[in-house]
Amino acid sequence: MEFILIPILASLIWAFLPIKSRWIASGLSLISLVVLLTKYNQGSFPDGLVVFDQPWLGESVRFTLVIDQITWFMLFLTQLLLPIIVLSVKDQNQKLIAWAFLMQAGLNGVFMAQDGLIFYLFWELAMIPIYFITLQFSEKDNFVTTIRFFIYTFVGSLAMLASLIYLASLSGGSFAYADLLNTQLSHAQSLIIGGGLLLAFAVKIPIFPFHLWQADTYTNSPAQGSMLLSGIMLKMGLYGLIRWYMPLAAESIDFYQPIVMTLAVVGIIYGGIIAIRQDDMKRITAYSSLSHVGLIAAGFFTLNSSGFNGGLLQMLVHGLNVVGMFLIIDIIQKNTNTRNLSELGGIASKYKFFTVLFFIIVIGTAAAPLTSGFPGEFMLLNSVFKYNSIHGVLSGLTIILCAVYMLRIFQKSALGSNEIAMSEVSFVDYVPLIIVAFSVLFIGLFPQVILEIFTLSVEKLMLDISNAKGVLS
């Protein structure tokens, strides 16, 4: 419960007290990280530990929060990224932080909820702040984009709600995870229910062709909005996939697996190909994100342990890397007033340290070995290849395409002979970048440390899924 109350409290404090320092905000957001770290023991229960349980609405809905290893990991991801993001907020956008805290509460709830409706509740609670962030703090009139984004995801959420209601009606009215898990579905029912859940998650992840909201929203949002969206929000969809879709509608996996795999692979290539020609750095990052998370989704859908572990690892890594990219873009834009590659160049000649960090993040995203991108991508590609070699080869193209566009970004902006006018990068801007760059190298070297956080729960989860499917995969 503290992971919900602390952020809400922080949000209220920030919204109503006249504090202005980014450091204080970051400190506020660090509280929950510290609390989380002290609870590492709680996270070591592979079966999950009930941390809160109260009746919420009638007989059917209980406010149940559970922490298991995967949850702990997801919470970790959230609490880790938030201070970084908060630290990068521009001075004139201070109120954004209040929204960000609120969103943190929602996200934490999503990851901990062990009741269908509570899950949905937090799911939406996480979505509202990001809507307002993208709307309120963007540079130009962003209404159409954001409303598209919201409706697009909202349609997905409503499909999920419908599915959950359907499922609950079959489970005798209870929304409790265990009851939903034990509900036997006919094939047709599982197709409908699974389809609804899948739609919600596919939109959020996003899987091709449900990605349409993504590029515009990333491009037009304030940098912190893009970070929150791509760093944490996307992970909700992926988390939902393994925690909610697969165990609950396991009977439908056989039907949806080839479809989702194909779409995910198409998305991987599609995003990659588009990214190589864009001019706007944010847009490139958006499409690269489509490509990367498509791979994660594909990895999950292979239903093997390599895919699950790799996917979870990659969620953290992608979160950090993409936040790093947006930090870079934000700093460049803040100092040069543009983020179009055609207008940039030559940053390296003036900002050596910045360029080094930039390059580390670039190669981290491009999954060079000994950087964080590699282990996850390796496991994911391995799992996809195991599922189907053609899918594996096609999704493997991502390492080529990713190299193409990431190097293009780096080269066009940092290298070259342009003498771009850029004001001094401040220390506060460097801190989050350094954290990200450090993580790129650390995870690149010791991925097993991260894997061990959640690997037992993954086994348990996979057991749930295979039990629900009736066949061990």
């Binding site: 590029a215 020609r277 864009q278 342990s305 572990n309 195991k386 390492i399 290298l415 070259g416 097993q448």
Partner: protein
């Protein structure tokens, strides 16, 4: 302390010190640290030679930690120093030391001096990672890592956008190969459940794996090799990679990194030995590359480009050897090639340095007198690569030719032709550079100078090695036993390397042919470039034009891959994403709005109309539910 830690650790330490503190340190210190770290690694490798060279297949292992543990698959950060890797280590660190030394002078004017040394050290570290790894994953780390360093070093002068493009091209083409390697690794995982050499190779050797699977794995690994070793179709990056500083070309793009593909194949000897189809493909790809690059080399005018195509061609030679199953021969050629090609590149660098960054051979000539040391060493290099008898290249090339002769006569003829071309273009280069008239109008002949000592010293060392390097694997007819390298590697091969039995008469004929090739090539070149003093034209026509334009391969790739990809990108973004999908998805809102506008017609403010609608609705409600229900 485990020697591997030191071997790997010293260059890494050098990289870290130079990378982090380099900007604050004086250049001499930076250079010293960089060179010393590599030299240290070299010395340690030498010191451990004895341990490795025990009669049984001895090796030193180092297991650091588990990198990834997925179910039963355990991927470890683990290294081994065995006969193959120590050989490679010595080449890498040995030549690396010389080139570091050379670079101290060559790069001393450059702002990025410390950066350069950091990159070089990092490259050495990665290259060592590649050869020292005891599993495919570690090799892949090094494999990608050297690609990354290559990218950094090619684009070292980052302000020049063309260099940047060349660097990117190198990295991306390498990545295409890397994908093949990666997929090969996935197949290995699925087949053998491990990536450790010590697990995989014995399993293959049992012969229980189907040939088609082995062929698939070996082909995928070979795709990786073509990327790194610049074979058809992925060779075009290497000539462009000459954008980097010359020591880089010498170290990375001649002596070490590009031979990673050969190392990979030798390392997986057991795998390749059991996939005959792959061997055949390797043979022909290598052969094609050897011939094609040699042809292109004939018409290049940039001193480094000639050497680059020569490298591609020589790499082709090595693959031909691999294709015939002569693994030790290939490695032998790797070694000798490292000596003389590094020598040639460094010599070229010395020329460029002396000519103040002039690279076009048409603007050189007559440098013999001004740069005697450079000239002499360059000549030795040229002779070595051309196969002047008893120099290192003569032996290694002869071994390859012999192996091919026994394997396939057609291939032999083609490869011999390629060797002839090698001699021609190398002497063309040599003559145009050092003989004849000085032809540069921008830059006075007086200002041309010999390079300083720490540039010529490596040249001399390498020249010496080029001369005597052949001793490393002297042919049977000289020693009446297996060559040193062959016997050195023998314990490593689980399946023994096929030894080509050949009677001495044939062998002498082949040697005769080789000598003939060298002589005729030399004479042709001399005739054209010394006697007639021909200077290559700006734009050749006909076949020459095609050769000068490198068979239009780049243009072909551009038309067939790059442009279509770019067009696809735009189409996907603007048309599919921007229009069609959007129309389908968000088109629903305009549609809804259209329906909403229709409502305007209905909601027109007129009470009578409203009443009429209501009555109609009542009629419908009543009619449907009372009468028809």
């Amino acid at each position: 302390m485990n020697p591997i830690i030191l071997i790997l650790g010293l260059p890494l330490l050098g990289f870290l010190i130079n990378g982090v503190l380099g900007s604050k340190l004086p250049k001499s210190v930076v250079g010293a640290i960089g060179t010393a770290s590599v030299l240290g690694a070299f010395i340690i490798a030498i010191l451990n030679w004895n341990i490795i060279s025990q009669p049984e297949n001895n090796s030193i292992h180092l297991d650091l930690f588990t990198f990834l543990q997925i179910d039963q698959l355990s991927l470890k950060v683990a290294f081994q120093l065995d006969r193959l890797s120590i050989w490679m280590t010595l080449i890498i660190t040995g030549i690396g030391t010389l080139i570091h030394l050379y670079s101290i002078s060559y790069m001393k004017e450059d702002d990025g001096f410390y950066k350069f040394f950091a990159y070089l050290n990092f490259f050495i570290f990665n290259m060592l990672l590649l050869v020292l790894g005891s599993n495919f994953l570690m090799m892949f780390f090094g494999w990608e890592g050297v690609g990354l360093c290559s990218y950094l070093l090619i684009g070292f002068w980052y302000k020049n956008e063309d260099y940047g493009k060349a660097a990117r091209k190198a990295f991306i083409m390498n990545r295409i190969g890397d994908l093949g390697l990666l997929l090969g690794m996935f197949l290995i995982i699925s087949q053998f459940g491990s990536l450790d050499y010590s697990v995989v190779f014995p399993q293959i050797a049992t012969g229980n794996t189907s040939t088609s699977m082995l062929t698939a794995i070996s082909l995928l690994l070979f795709v990786g090799a073509t990327g790194k070793s610049a074979q058809i179709p992925l060779f075009t990056w290497l000539p462009d990679a000459m954008a980097g500083p010359t020591p880089v070309s010498a170290l990375i793009h001649a002596a070490t990194m590009v031979t990673a593909g050969i190392y990979l194949t030798v390392r997986c000897q057991v795998l390749f030995a059991l996939s005959p189809l792959t061997n055949e493909i390797i043979l022909w790809v290598g052969l094609g590359t050897a011939v094609m690059a040699a042809l292109i080399g004939l018409k290049q005018n940039d001193i480094k480009k000639v050497l680059a195509y020569s490298t591609v061609s020589q790499l082709g030679f090595m693959f031909v050897a691999l294709g015939t199953g002569a693994y030790s021969t290939a490695l032998f050629h790797v070694t000798t090639h490292a000596f003389f090609k590094a020598l040639l590149f460094l010599g070229a660098g010395s020329v460029i340095h002396g000519m103040h960054h002039e690279q076009d051979i048409r603007h050189m000539g007559g440098l013999k007198s001004k740069m005697p040391l450079t000239h002499l060493t360059f000549l030795i290099g040229t002779l070595a690569i051309s196969g002047f008898p008893l120099l290192s290249g003569f032996f290694s090339k002869d071994e390859i030719l012999t192996a091919v002769f026994l394997h396939n006569k057609v291939a032999y003829v083609l490869l011999a032709g390629s060797a002839l071309l090698t001699t021609i273009y190398m002497f063309r280069l040599y003559f145009l550079t050092f003989h004849g008239q000085y032809r540069n109008h921008h830059h006075a002949f007086d200002k041309v100078h010999e390079s300083p000592m720490n540039m010529t010293l490596p040249l001399m060392v390498l020249a010496l090695l080029s001369i005597v390097g052949g001793a490393l694997n002297l042919p049977t007819y000289v020693t009446h036993s297996d060559g040193f390298l062959l016997s050195w590697l023998k314990p490593l091969f689980i399946i023994p390397q096929s030894i080509h039995e050949i009677n001495h008469n044939t062998e002498y004929v082949l040697i005769g042919i080789a000598v003939l090739i060298f002589v005729s090539g030399f004479l042709i070149a001399r005739n054209i470039f010394v006697s007639k003093a021909t200077v290559p034209a700006e734009n050749s026509t006909g076949l020459g034009g095609i050769l000068q334009n490198k068979f239009y391969v780049d243009e072909f790739y551009n038309k067939v891959f790059v442009r279509p990809l770019e067009i696809t990108s735009s189409v996907l973004h603007d048309l599919i994403d921007g229009l069609i999908l959007r129309a389908f998805t968000f088109g629903i809102f305009p549609m809804l709005k259209l329906v909403g506008r229709l409502n305007k017609k209905v909601q027109n403010g007129n009470i009578e109309m409203y009443l009429l609608y209501m009555v109609i609705a009542i009629v419908l409600l009543l009619g449907v539910n009372l009468i028809f229900a």
